[in-house]
């Protein structure tokens, strides 16, 4: 039968697509590890992770300052961006009048599309001088990078969590309100838990953007190899390091392996972060 054939074809196309894509994606991970593990071998795992000196001339690659820089930047930005974004999303879905939502939502979608270089650009010509003037030189700093990331990730997190929040069935809301809960209690006890998995996805996406952002950070963080002691110190992240050096790295060199090594560490970050989120979300379901 014709209908049957279409069904079968669709099934196999879908299966095929999914399978091939997953294969490619596994390939990518393999590729990264394949190149990056050499960095651990060539430098020694300990030296690579805890060495403080990254020098092409010495052929020594210690990524500690980068790792610390990345952690500061990511954690710092997400600690602000996640709650703020969720607040905005809650505001838009549950409090703002309909017409406001109709205006704000397209703005958010627009902001999602602003290229990160543009954020970097703004950071460079506006934020960095501002910081330099008011908080002291050099302006290029952790603070600038974190601020840029916050601005970059908010639209993404808002957009995704707003969708999830809106998908929470009205009947849950009704149930809670009818039992005498205030709007806020309903949001807190019913809507947010029901939207939890989507919100966590949103935050994961946001963190992904934050951890993975390279160019915008590169433009404002100063890229010094020192471990920053305060928010206005310059710093360097794993990604900005890759961006800064990738063009000079020769294929097959210890240098490029070290850069891939940075990639692996980034992946581990993402992995650890995702696992934490996942655990948190499981926990919530019980409570």
């Amino acid at each position: 039968m014709n209908k049957k054939t279409i069904e079968q074809t669709m099934k196999w196309v879908l299966l095929g697509t999914a399978f091939v894509s997953l294969l490619i994606l596994v390939g990518i991970i393999y590729f990264i590890f394949d190149n990056g593990f050499l960095a651990f071998m060539e430098n020694g795992l300990w030296n690579f992770l805890f060495g403080q000196k990254w020098s092409l001339a010495d052929n020594t690659f210690g990524a500690l300052p980068l790792i610390i820089g990345s952690i500061y930047v990511t954690v710092g930005s997400i600690l602000v961006a996640a709650p703020v974004s969720i607040a905005i999303a809650v505001f838009m879905t549950n409090i703002a009048p309909h017409f406001l939502r109709e205006i704000v939502r397209p703005c958010i979608d627009l902001l999602v599309g602003i290229p990160s270089v543009v954020y970097g650009l703004i950071g460079m010509v506006f934020l960095v001088p501002l910081i330099r003037e008011h908080l002291g030189p050099p302006g290029y700093s952790l603070l600038a990078a974190i601020t840029v990331l916050i601005l970059m990730t908010i639209p993404t997190i808002v957009s995704v969590s707003e969708d999830t929040l809106r998908a929470v069935p009205t009947k849950y809301k009704e149930a809670s309100l009818a039992l005498g809960a205030t709007k806020w209690q309903t949001i807190w006890h019913v809507i947010l838990p029901a939207a939890k998995s989507g919100i966590i996805s949103a935050v994961i996406l946001g963190v992904g953007r934050a951890i993975g952002e390279a160019m915008a950070i590169y433009m404002v963080i100063g890229n010094s190899f020192s471990i920053p002691k305060s928010l206005i110190d310059p710093s360097r992240t794993l990604t900005s390091n890759i961006v800064g050096q990738i063009e000079e790295a020769a294929l097959g060199s210890t240098h490029i392996h070290a850069l891939f090594g940075c990639g692996i560490i980034l992946l581990l970050f993402v992995f650890v972060f995702n696992s934490i989120s996942f655990t948190l979300s499981k926990k919530g379901v019980q409570a």
Binding site: P137, P138, G222, N223, S226, A250
Partner: protein
């Protein structure tokens, strides 16, 4: 001044060199052409003063100038002099550099004339067979505008002509080199220090080497600069002097660059 923030020195005027020690960090950033030699300078200088650390990041000549002006680095490296608009900075030549025309090692071409190179870059010649090579489309590797290497190449080779729009633009010498290394159809220009793994072509029958650059027979030569703020710190000053000293210029020659003419 930019040096005061990051590098401290306990040197007093008039003391002899032996007694002075420098400590802290000197931060450099800028041209990728200068990178190899800057690193060697740094290593040698750090050997002399173990408490001192010198870091270098790439990014291009303009980035070097900008960051130095902003005070994020102590020394900006550039393969061009500072422009008039970039005030408050001084440029100190520390080495010279030839710009080599490179092709893939498997390319049978043995040499080109400047006119041929010009025509290739303006898009007048598009096939290797027109200059005696294989029947293969030429892929032109160039640099982004603002690059010191490109400034030099444009002014000496292209003169007032503009580069063909089909030319690829790269952000660094390394990128051009990697590209040419793998691309049999490619032609590019890089700083002399980047000619491993690729074939540097003789221009007008003159081999591209330190010697030919030094004696002026090879046409595309330029100076490399360290840029600092008008009053550099003592440590930076000492470093700059070291680079320009005979010892420093020996490092230049040993590493594939052209020493300054004294």
């Amino acid at each position: 001044g930019c040096g005061d923030q990051s590098s401290s020195s306990n040197a007093g005027a008039g003391t002899t060199e032996q007694e002075i020690t420098y400590s802290g960090i000197i931060r450099e950033a800028g041209s990728t052409s200068v990178l190899p030699i800057a690193e060697k300078f740094a290593l040698a200088f750090m050997d002399m003063y173990p408490n001192l650390e010198i870091t270098y990041t790439g990014g291009g000549s303009s980035a070097g100038v900008k960051q130095c002006a902003a005070g994020t680095v102590d020394i900006g490296a550039a393969s061009r002099e500072v422009k008039i608009s970039e005030t408050d900075l001084i440029s100190i030549p520390v080495a010279r550099d030839g710009v080599a025309i490179i092709v893939n090692e498997n390319n049978p071409i043995q040499g080109l004339t400047i006119e041929q190179v010009t025509k290739i870059y303006t898009g007048e010649i598009t096939n290797w067979s027109e200059v005696g090579g294989n029947d293969l489309q030429i892929t032109v590797y160039g640099r982004e505008e603002g690059s010191g290497t490109r400034d030099c190449f444009d002014s000496i080779v292209l003169k007032k002509l503009s580069v063909s729009p089909t030319a690829l633009a790269k952000k660094s010498n390394g990128e051009v080199q990697i590209g040419i290394q793998e691309d049999a159809s490619g032609i590019g220009y890089v700083s002399l220090g980047y000619i491993n793994g690729v074939k540097a072509l003789p221009l007008n029958d003159v081999e591209c080497s330190i010697a030919t650059c030094q004696d002026g027979s090879y046409p595309i030569v330029r100076r490399l600069y360290f840029i600092t703020q008008t009053i550099p710190s003592d440590a930076v000053n000492a470093f700059l002097n070291f680079c320009r000293s005979e010892e420093g210029q020996k490092i230049v020659a040993d590493n594939g660059f052209v020493p300054l003419v004294h």
